[in-house]
């Protein structure tokens, strides 16, 4: 593969491509092509790069042409010669994946040389009419390859806009999820409708409710995922050697600059967004396609890679694109307007460029105006999210010891919390570390102070325990509330995690400890009493602490924040589920609308997740890992709601496509137990958190867990 490693920032230009300075498009696209129906030998007379490209993709030769239309032309500019070619829809035989392609005819083919314009050609394993190429005009030849639409997976298509002017050629513009739009494809003999009909047979094509000429492809495609993965751009950019000038007056279009891989600024995100917009205006001639190579060329099959989805939603104006792109007689890029980042520095804007930055909320491009989705939220994130692979190992004993000052204070509380959040905590460290996370031991306490605290807490615990233990049989008869509570606790401790060796077998002393701690807690917090779910919360704490007194006080610390989950009026649960609702509404309006339609907005299907913070959804050791991440409060106190949103988001397709109603959704969510990838969920949740920004904070409960 070639041309995949970027060593400097691509030049973003909105001018007519200066052919001589641009790499042939096939360099940028060679790794993108997944499919061609042409045999390499048939293409040997074409430009070497294209032939090489096809050679390279021999494995995809067996594709079926389900639609082909001749004499579809591209007009590079108003003064340029049109380039004719064939538009086709291909289906890969292996996995039925659909592709769209437009390949130009060889040079000595004139635009009217092809026949049977209106006929659908259904060929099996056929080849395109690519005949001999003669290299007469070098630039023209370059244009041809430059504008060629090498097979693009249909799944990468975002929308098709149809233009059927009464005067002039009918044409379509295809916009990809990446924000890249393909060059307008002009139908010399009509047939746009037929094309859409065929396309509709092979993909989900819906007419936009706002614009009858706009067809959304795969509209179910996950806007959230796109938004989230757009954050990943940063890594791509950095690895590709992207940088910004350190001084702050960052210029989007400056090459090189100081490498600053470790401390990306918020602007990195906005640069990524800007880059997307600039691509929109540059159509297929954009040589910056290099950066699409997620793995820098190692994974050629994933272009345009999933991680490159953009943060735009299509918001077409009623008028067509011609006014902007071609009919204005200038082959000039349309105005690009981008929301500025929230910093007070100069917007990344280059006077040499013809783009103009403005305080707008949309980006007008050749295909309409793009609204930038909550750009402020993206750029407000000043944090680079470690990828899953980069996540550290659990906090080790050595590291743990290093956190302490000579007098025994844990000075770097923030560092510790961050460490616990990303890596979790080694099992051998948990017993001590959890005491801090659960507020049992203060971070600034010395060894001596902790010993004092321990003593005092032991005395207090013993006194509390003695209260209920001293209730005589005759007193008990007149103490219904006590009897009830004891009966409930007795019933529940014998059915809490009994499959775990720690609590297994008859007459297990740890089960007795569960009982004692819960009984004591109902005397410590008599008004709250006991409620089902508490034994689930206590079980891992006792398992880690292996000590009755320590487990009790850690449990108290946890209940201090989770108490409202168990209030009789369920206010804590309802406020959290409402927050979750608002969070999903914010992050995934489509899913929200769906749930609204299905009358599921009470979010009862997430009840168990929230009540006992996923205790039943993961295997025991993972619950410990999740909980310490949540208790670290590294990002926020309600991070569990982001985890909920992330898991829902992960299954949004199943939910929406499956047309799940309340019942089926509830069963579906229940069945996810044991099937959720925790690290993925944590990672996604953090992405959502970063994405939601302040707007996310605003919908969270004001207190409680």
């Amino acid at each position: 593969m070639t041309g995949l490693v970027m060593t400097s920032r691509p030049v973003v230009s909105h001018e007519t491509p200066e052919i001589g300075h641009q790499k042939p498009v096939s360099d940028g696209f060679s790794h993108t092509t997944r499919c061609t129906e042409a045999k390499a030998s048939e293409l040997s007379n074409l430009q070497p790069s294209l032939a090489a490209l096809c050679n390279e993709e021999k494995t995809y030769q067996s594709a079926v042409v389900v639609y082909a239309k001749e004499n579809i032309f591209v007009q590079p500019g108003i003064k340029c010669k049109r380039i004719s070619g064939r538009l086709s829809l291909l289906k890969k035989a292996v996995d039925d994946v659909m592709f769209l392609a437009w390949l130009p005819y060889a040079l000595n083919n004139t635009s009217d040389s092809a026949t049977d314009d209106n006929k659908f050609v259904v060929i099996s394993d056929g080849g395109p009419a690519l005949s001999e190429a003669s290299s007469t005009a070098e630039s023209e030849k370059r244009d041809r390859t430059l504008y060629a639409v090498h097979p693009v997976p249909i799944s990468d298509m975002r929308a098709v806009r149809r233009h059927t002017p009464t005067i002039g050629w009918h044409h379509i513009i295809i916009v990809l999820h990446t924000g890249l739009s393909l060059p307008p494809l002009y139908f010399t003999n009509g047939g746009v409708k037929d094309f859409l009909t065929v396309l509709k047979q092979h993909t989900c094509l819906v007419r936009s409710p706002d614009d009858p000429n706009l067809y959304l492809v795969n509209d179910i495609a996950d806007p959230l995922q796109r938004s989230m993965t757009a954050l990943d751009l940063l890594e791509v950019q950095n690895r590709a050697g992207w940088s910004e000038s350190a001084g702050g007056s960052a210029s989007l279009f400056v090459r090189g600059g100081k490498d600053d891989l470790d401390t990306p600024s918020p602007r990195d995100y906005s640069l990524g967004v800007l880059e997307h917009f600039s691509r929109v205006t540059k159509l297929a001639r954009d040589t910056t396609a290099h950066i699409f190579g997620k793995d820098q060329g190692l994974d050629a099959s994933t272009w345009p890679c999933e991680g490159e989805e953009t943060l735009i939603k299509l918001n077409y104006p009623p008028q067509g694109m011609l006014a902007v792109n071609c009919a204005d007689g200038e082959d000039e890029a349309p105005v690009l307007r981008v929301v500025q980042s929230d910093d007070d520095e100069a917007a990344p804007c280059d006077s040499d460029s013809q783009s103009r930055c403005d305080d707008g909320e949309s980006a007008s491009t050749s295909v309409g105006s793009f609204e930038l989705l909550e750009s402020e939220r993206i750029v407000s994130s000043s944090k680079r999210i470690p990828s899953r692979a980069q996540r550290p190992f659990p906090l080790s004993v050595e590291e743990w010891c290093a956190f302490f000052e000579p007098d025994g204070r844990l000075a770097d509380e923030r560092g510790f919390r961050e460490r616990a959040f990303y890596g979790g905590i080694d099992q051998n460290v948990r017993k001590e570390a959890w005491k801090y996370l659960l507020g049992y031991m203060p971070f600034n306490s010395t060894v001596a102070e902790r010993e004092q605290i321990r003593e005092a807490k032991k005395t207090e615990y013993d006194a509390l325990k003695a209260q209920w233990q001293s209730i005589s049989a005759s007193q008990e008869k007149r103490f219904t509330k006590f009897r009830e509570r004891r009966m409930r606790i007795d019933k529940d401790v014998v059915r809490t995690d009994r499959l775990l060796p720690f609590y297994a077998e008859e007459d297990n002393s740890n089960v007795e400890l569960l009982r004692s701690i819960l009984m004591t807690y109902t005397f410590y917090n008599f008004d709250l009493g006991y409620c089902q779910g508490m034994s689930d919360l206590l079980s891992p704490i006792l398992y880690v602490m292996e000590d009755e007194v320590d487990a009790f006080w850690c449990f108290v610390g946890l209940m201090d924040v989770m108490e409202s989950n168990f209030h009789r009026d369920q206010n804590g649960m309802h406020s959290q589920l409402q927050s979750l609702k608002k969070l999903v509404q914010l992050l995934d309006p489509q899913l929200h609308c769906y749930l609204e339609k299905m009358d599921c907005l009470n979010y009862f299907f997430c009840y168990r997740w929230v009540l006992i913070t996923f205790k039943r959804e993961f295997e025991y050791s993972l619950v410990l890992r999740l909980w310490e991440a949540l208790w670290s409060k590294h990002l926020c106190e309600h991070f569990h709601l982001f985890v909920c949103a992330a898991v829902l988001q992960k299954h949004r397709r199943a939910i929406i496509h499956g047309e799940m109603e309340f019942d089926t959704l509830l069963r579906f969510i229940n069945d996810l137990s044991g099937k959720i990838d925790l690290e993925v969920a944590l990672y996604d949740a953090e992405m959502l958190f970063q994405y939601a920004g302040e707007a996310g904070q605003e919908v969270l409960p004001t207190s409680g867990p």
Binding site: M487, R488, K491, D492, V494, R495, T496, D497, R498, L499, C531, Q532, G533, S535, D536, F566, H567, R568, Q570, N602, F604, Y607, R608, L611, I612, R616, F662, D663, L666, R667, N670, D671
Partner: protein, 215 residues
């Protein structure tokens, strides 16, 4: 597996009366006293045969704790049958039946078939509610009544299947508009004729799935 009808059941009753154990005994034919306590709701399913028709029972096993009542109420929607369970050894679980019934009447469809179940009939030495009291309550409230033991499996099959039979009779009588799923009945693909399924005596398990599997 195809079925003529799918009935949604809901099991309700106080904490610790044996709701989950009844479900497990019915779906898995085993008694597991250390089964984790139910948070929210758990699901079970089993196929039975009535009148030569395959009927799939999709069973919702709810949490009994009072504070979860508000969420439990949302589960009544679309249930065709309910098993209202109390523990014959604990009178307080019998005393709360009226409030459970009120919930059911208020939140379920009025044609829901309710089976009153006095569970733990094996613990005769600790009995606190007589069989006659249970039967009386059932008569007064128009419920079907049975005493069961999830531990010995006594009457467990009958409880679930008799309920299904009642629902089936209501369908035959045209009480339900089966096309309206709010009655908790779905007409399956195997509805066909009366001879659509293999002949299995009512009460025989045609298929049983693990508790929690309800597809």
């Amino acid at each position: 597996m195809s079925y003529a009808y799918l009935f949604k059941y809901i099991i309700i009753g106080d904490v610790g009366v044996g709701k989950s154990c009844l479900l497990l005994q019915f779906t898995d034919k085993r008694f597991q006293p250390v089964h984790d306590l139910t948070i929210g709701v758990e699901f079970g399913a089993r196929m039975i045969t009535i009148d030569n028709k395959q009927i799939k029972l999709q069973i919702w096993d709810t949490a009994g704790q009072e504070s979860f009542r508000s969420i439990t109420r949302s589960y009544y929607r679309g249930a065709a049958g309910a098993l209202l369970v109390y523990d014959i050894t604990r009178r307080e679980t019998f005393n709360t039946l009226a409030s459970w019934l009120e919930d059911a009447r208020q939140h379920a469809n009025p044609n829901m078939t309710i089976m009153l179940i006095g569970n733990k009939s094996d613990l005769t030495h600790r009995r606190a509610v007589t069989t006659e009291e249970g039967a009386q309550f059932a008569r007064e409230n128009g419920l079907v009544f049975m005493e069961t033991s999830a531990k010995t499996a006594h009457n467990v099959e009958e409880a679930f299947i008799n309920t299904a039979r009642k629902i089936y009779e209501k369908i035959e009588l045209g009480v339900f508009d089966v096309s309206n799923e709010s009655y908790g009945i779905k007409v399956g693909y195997g509805a066909g004729g009366a001879n659509g399924g293999t002949t299995v005596r009512p009460g025989d398990a045609q298929a049983s799935g693990k508790s929690g599997c309800c597809s």
